[in-house]
Amino acid sequence: MTLPSPEILLQLSINGALGGAMYGVAAVGLSLIFGTMRLIFLAQGAMIILAAYLVRALFQHLGIDPFLSLLIMVPVGLVAGWLIYQGLFRKAAAEEDRNISLLIAVGVMFLVQNLMTVIWGGNTAAVVTTYTASGIELLGVRASFTRSMGFLIALAGTALVVLFLRKTLVGKAVRAASEDMTAATLMGISPHKVNAIAFAIGIALAGAAGVAVATTFPFNPFAGFIFSLKALVALALGGIGNVTGALAGGIILGLIEAYTQFFISGGWTNAIAYGVFLAVLMFKPEGLFSRPYKKA
């Protein structure tokens, strides 16, 4: 097999990275929630699709540009995340058994999927703007405008979360709780408060991801599950609980998918992505960007 030209490799790399950033932003939210609650929030994908429907509704009924709706979706996500935690997870989070929280997450996923079906129907929905399906020149190759915007949203969202975690007192409390909840609690940090903050930010990121999804892909109420799965793979690649690693994991997953599609076959894309997921969990369970776990 002859090696493709540098232009083709660059094209594959840019498009793979742009696509992967979408998984990354979903994984960052999962990572934050897992960090404090030790919960894989399986409903994250459904929340992203719910956000995409809201973005579409804002665009269709109020004429608000999808990218401008970020200013609405992020605060709405923060409030919704806070309320979801307080209303559904607060009691379960206090339990030693994490399965209860996991079951609630599954219940939330099905509830949101079915609510969306009742409200908007099961058909494929899409947002069509003047810039839909527009291409731009990026580093000398063609790239999608909306995916490039999605990439910027993912970068900005992750950067803000990292700044929040490193530079603010509340953020430091979230980090402390994610490292050792018992020690953090002994230091006077309220576990419910940090859990609620992590949830709020996680759902706000779902709101931001919803903007990227709505402008780029068609979607239906059940499309979120694949997002949750891919975000989970990105999370494992980047290191569970590692925010920047989650974004990087998403980008790596996007690159794996693009290279697999090009060099092997489109039919192998998912098999290889999930194979890599299993291999990482088996041989480097702490992820590609974290230090190995200390042995007891």
Partner: protein, 400 residues
Amino acid sequence: MSLKGMLAALALSTVLTGGATVIANAAGDEIVIGAPVSLTGPFAGDGKEQEWAYKQAVADINKAGGIMIKEAGKKLPVRLVIADDESTEAKVASAIENLVKVQKVDILLSTHSGPLNVAGAIVAEKYKKFYMITAAFPFEWQPLKMKYSALFFFHPGPGAEVPFEIWQKLPENERPKRPALVTEDSPDGKGFGGAFEAAAKKYGYTFAFNDPWATGSTDYSAMITKLKAADADAMLVFGSPADTVTLIRQMKELGFSVPYFHGWKGTWTGEFHDALGKDSDYVLTDGFWSASYPYNGAKELGERYEAEYKKDSVTVGAFYANAQVLFQAIERAGSTDAAAVHDAIFNQEFKDTVVGPLKFDETGFALIPSVATQWWEGKHQLLFPNGTWTYKPAPAWDKR
């Protein structure tokens, strides 16, 4: 469980429920027809079209006084009872159980898609209620050798020959030289993929690109890069609406187009056009029916649908015809008794339907042609079979 085992279990449960199984007949004041339909879930879009078509058919037959039942010596009105199957096989089964046992329907019209209809046919067989099916591939239903269901639909084999038939009619210099085959990585996709390969061989074509694509993927840029490298000038694509819309959007973003783009499964729906707008122009699509058919009632049905929904449909006629066949079969049988309806359909011909004449074979299957239309300004223009529309090759994106 093997098919044999499944049927044995069904037979046993039928024996056990013995007294509860009622052989219906149309000697009452009305004929009650049940239909599981996907009103919610992923197939809800198609289900709504099916519901509309069934309701239209029932309204039309009732307007004509109902179905003539010789045994009753009069025409009996039809009452339709629809149960949501939530787009899942398990719910089709429970929806039919509900229709038969609680709603006490006399006979059944089908939901759509192969897996759902196979599940429905098995339950109908158990209760000895006749189940009239459309929108399922014969290779999924025929091996079950059902006595109390019949099917009309197109077959992937002849369906896959449609693009080659269209190309044969083009001037030599307009025929694709480097066609590409892209089929989704699913059982249906694989089935169709094999049919396309066989058809290509039959018509003397070789695919310059032949690769499956992952369902539900969000990025097809690598595949598009490969298609560009293969210099493809036509694409035969089997995939869901969401995947096909994502593919076409990315093709535009990356500045790649082919003169001939023909889609199956994902390109005929209204949502495909809604998601792409003008970019859906030039795309060829499959379908089960066309309002341009010359058959009695086809044009009027299409106009009725368009007046109500402000868009056209390439499916409602098939669902309407499904009800037409059942009405005519009940009239011929003089009853809704499953065995009598079986005899009225198997090896019989139905000449007056909106999909044209249907000739059922000894297995209860009747073949209809796969339709090819080209999207143009939000409407399906009929190309095949016997369409009057002239095929328009797609120019490059920046020349549209």
